[in-house]
Amino acid sequence: MAADERDLRAALSAALPADEPPVGLDVADIMRRGRRRYRVRRAVPIAVAASVAAVLVAVPLAIDTSEPAPERLPIGVPSSTTPPPTSSNSADSGAPFRVPPGHHRSPDADNLAENGAAQLPSENVAAHFGTRSDVKGSGNRFGYGMHVLWREGDRLGYLALLHRTSGDFSGSEYGLPDDPCLTTQTRRPEYRCVPIPVPAGGVAYSFEIEYGYRVRGVVWDQPDPAGGADFRVTAAFLIPGSFGWTPFRALDDAPRMTDFPLTTEELGDLIQLPR
């Protein structure tokens, strides 16, 4: 194969004409077109995006409830506290976005979701949105989440990023277990926890869970710079089981999520947003 590689490289090089014409592209024109594209994409009527999102949300949720989950592994948490998402726990079946109870749309989280969407297979991103919880628990704590829905061919992807996944901000609201891998109680074999390095500090684990559908993600504790409780941030891809385990391109070369398309600075901005 090495000889083939050298031959092909040489052959492709030979396929390029020696008399290459000068580049006829104008960077100013490209930037003008890019700005127009940027404005148009931002100005897409919300109603259109919302209707697409409603379909995308409804399809996997409906399938999750209608199909048996023969490969579903015991997760060691009572199912009543960590159910897979169903159409019944959708906050409002008539709403365009699946906002968990106690949450509301957040412009800041929307911006973060847009950032995440820009780094996914962007041409197929159907909707992205962010939510923020009402204050819960002691210490005026709040929860935060961003979601991206996208389509690749006949497959649907769902990327969620959550700040806090336990206690008053249960991950079960999003179809995730509470703090997978972060404690001895939740570091269960069926979660397939693997520690991963975090340049910014803290402790992180990748996890992979069968919930009837496959969930693969990263969870980590990030010390609160202001003191108090640590932050628990989870990033996860949720893949509807009905489509089988066919990795999305974002996962193809990452057997486990050891990287995330958002910087730790952006995550820091997310979780330190003033109320």
């Binding site: 000889a3 031959d7 092909l8 390029l16 594209r37 940027y38 780094q119 070369d253 910087t263």
Partner: protein, 163 residues
Amino acid sequence: MAGASDGAFAVYFTDRVAALRRSAYLLTGNWHDAEDVVQAAFVRLFSVWHRVREESADAYVRQVLVNVFLNTKRGQRNREYPVAEVPDGPVPAADAADRLAVSRALAELTPSQRAVVVLRYWEGLSVAETAAVLGVSAGTVKSQTHRAVSAMRPHLREDHGAS
């Protein structure tokens, strides 16, 4: 969406446009379509430039380039293209034969196979990187590579003289 980032984009464009256009030429088979594809890729890159980290710009623009090519090529296999200028005289025989053989071999591949060949052997991407660009599994890249190389090998050995 304006200001200093425009300058950075212009620098990036200047640095990368020629190389990307060569890749696009290998995909499309002519300079005209190659420039169209490259322009579309840079327009999309600029529309998200403020969010794309510089180190990921290459991967992004390469991915858009290939996607634009694949989208425009579906159903257009083996099209003939008009050329703006016909060469005045013969080009050197060896070069012409090489180019003709490789061009013919590339043209006989499916667009997806051509994309795999260009990404793997021209851009030098790994199987995993190629899979990420194309949005397919590593196994698909390997099988496409095998088919493409098998299809091209007779042309290359007969006409190009590769061993």
